[in-house]
Symmetry: C2
Subunit: 365 residues, 2 copies
DNA sequence: CAATTAAATGTGCTCGAACACACGTAATTT
DNA sequence: AAATTACGTGTGTTCGAGCACATTTAATTG
């Protein structure tokens, strides 16, 4: 076998030396055929005699041929259209950093013929998601990266995409793997356990409230996962030092929000820790301001108000769900899939970053 | 100005539409000259009449021309050699993950003509660093990415590289910016503050020991920085709740290590927290095993034994210095610098990841 | 004013892969 | 046996940038 790399030693230091990169022309020469024949073998276009096929495959087995993606791309000269579908950042600033990721990927791949378009929907309206997604499909993109906020509708869209030969990746929210073979996000169960661990470190013992805000808990499996993970940590501690209670609040009816939370605290006067399962920790902080309290708060996401309260010491820990990286990774994978035939992993779970007042700045790129 | 992008609206959704990408041929046509002339203008090769130069620059100002790096690369067809110089991972497993990063970058850029060679030195021998580095220079790489463990010698090497027109990036350890305009690592002062914050969260008050192990503290600015940051956090708390003491230990003479540490604890019986400034937290844990204790430990780095003790609850927090990402970033920047003329930032500070038993798995890629 | 030199400009080949097309040879048909 | 088809096979062009070389035009000289 004609290896393309071999070890050489130089002053007692061994290192790998890369050999010549083989081109189609080289293969043609080695096999004693023309580059056209090699090309037909490589692309399985047929019209090749058994003798020629044998000669070429023999050489292909001996060397390690990988087509030069540069030249390929230059010739193909196709513009791949990627579409990103995500909730409107004006209504929930959690999604704000995603635009930056889109620009970065666009910039990185602009010369390779990657075009990215962003489409937003109103996260409070199922119909908005559906409508926007259908519009996107009519723009005939090569791939869609989306937040499948509404499971049923998302599956409908995915099915439509499959029919139209549009590749689909989803991020942030999980979707049944029958529908998408490419998810970028986090292990939410484990993220609940991280929150629990942090709470445990800070409190040692006490009463903890799990606060869910605004979402339809029954259909929000992501909240359920976080709660499960959180409770599992304390269960595995096997101690009676902790008491855990769950409450569901609605912030859209904001008049009632503060009252509900405060009356919850009245009913559970020993609460010394609150775990907020979505990015709205700041509304809990603001509600608590009405009374002096020394309650540890662990929440999610680096939105402006959360960061402020984190730095002020009102929030103890935030877990970073990294929407920007999710988009960045999702788009990069799609781009490299089209350009360089790179495989897309079926699931990419990002690390669960723990953020405090002292390291938050490093995460704000 | 002929803009290359413009906004269009589709069903109330505005998005950017990319226009034609201009080529040298296009510019030649627009300016009414040949592509040779455009080429001469672009590369400032002279031999262009003022009239032609004016015509071409006029067009160049109207459109946004960026040469296609793909085509450029294909034509140039040069193999860029990058060298990585780092301590031997067999003697300090902290460096182990770096090899993975090298392979990844190599894999990613192999078709673009990037070749990477790894060279290791014995971190305990200044001469080994110097010798290895000099050897590397004789291999005439286009760039070197190195760990400037020994400041004086590293500066010598950098100077030699400058003479030989070899680009230098440094990672993990900072070096005077007169010598390198490209550092990848972390803000160590801030990482000391993160450690302090975590300690504060866990302890609330008490006596804390800062443990430096094995290194020449006077010349190890990285340890000094961490200590400074750590102490600055507690100073800014403006409280008398904490007492902080520093101790320097030597692990190479391991017989004495345990005794020294234990006698330190005897002298400071109230210690309830230890901050270990390098990756050897596990040796502290092992020394403490000899006596029952409830001391919180905050340390650095995801080396095998640290991870084990973290999961067992013996270590509370680890700060991840991300050697692998450092190498990955450093090499990627160099590759993109040569291939696509991308600018290299003078300093890239990676986020300070806080690792607990519950999120450690996500960082072990 | 023709001859020479200099300056400006255009043409054409290269890189590697993809693909259209043309050419060849053998098998089949009329 | 000539004509038609089928099937292999090789050639040549394209993509965009870079650069060598050829060509044209202008300036200078004898």
């Amino acid at each position: 076998m004609l290896s393309s790399t071999f070890l050489i030693s130089y002053n007692k230091v061994f290192y790998i030396c890369k050999m010549k990169k083989y081109t189609i022309k080289d293969i043609a020469q080695l096999a004693g055929v023309s580059k056209g024949t090699v090309d037909r073998v490589l692309h399985k276009r047929g019209k090749v005699s058994e003798i020629a096929l044998e000669k070429v495959t023999k050489i292909l087995n001996e060397i390690e041929y990988k087509p030069n993606p540069i030249a390929k791309n230059l010739k193909i000269n196709k513009i791949y259209k990627l579409a990103v579908i995500l909730p409107d950042a004006q209504k929930d600033s959690y999604w704000e950093p995603c635009s930056g990721a889109i620009k970065e990927v666009e910039n990185e791949f602009q010369h390779f013929g990657i075009e990215i378009n962003k489409f937003v929907f109103d996260a409070s309206e199922t119909s908005s998601f559906l409508e926007t997604s259908l519009n996107v499909i009519t723009t005939k993109p090569d791939a869609i990266l989306m937040v499948p906020l509404f499971q049923k509708e998302a599956k409908e869209i995915v099915t439509k995409c499959n029919i139209n030969n549009i590749k689909v990746s989803v991020f942030n929210n999980y979707i049944d793997s029958n529908y998408s073979n490419n998810f970028i996000g986090q292990d939410l169960y484990q993220s609940g356990r991280v929150a629990a661990k942090l709470m445990d470190m800070v409190l040692k013992k006490g009463t903890i409230g799990i606060v869910h805000i605004d979402e339809d808990y029954q259909n929000a499996t992501h909240l359920q996962e976080k709660e499960k993970g959180f409770r599992s940590y304390f269960n595995s501690l096997n101690t009676l030092d902790y008491d855990i209670t769950t409450i569901h609040l609605n912030y859209k009816k904001s008049e009632s929000f503060n009252n509900s939370l405060l009356s919850f605290l009245d009913k559970n006067p020993n609460i010394n820790g609150i775990f907020v399962t979505i990015s709205k920790s700041y509304v809990v902080v603001e509600a608590l301001k009405e009374r002096a309290s020394d309650i540890a708060i662990v929440g999610y996401d680096l939105v402006k108000k959360n960061i402020d309260y984190l730095k002020q010491g009102e929030i103890d820990f935030l877990i970073h769900q990294k929407p920007k990286q999710q988009v960045y990774m999702g788009l990069s994978y799609l781009a490299e899939y089209f350009l360089f035939d790179k495989e897309i992993p079926s699931q990419l779970l990002l690390p669960l970053d723990i953020v405090t007042s002292e390291n938050v700045d490093g995460y704000l790129m």
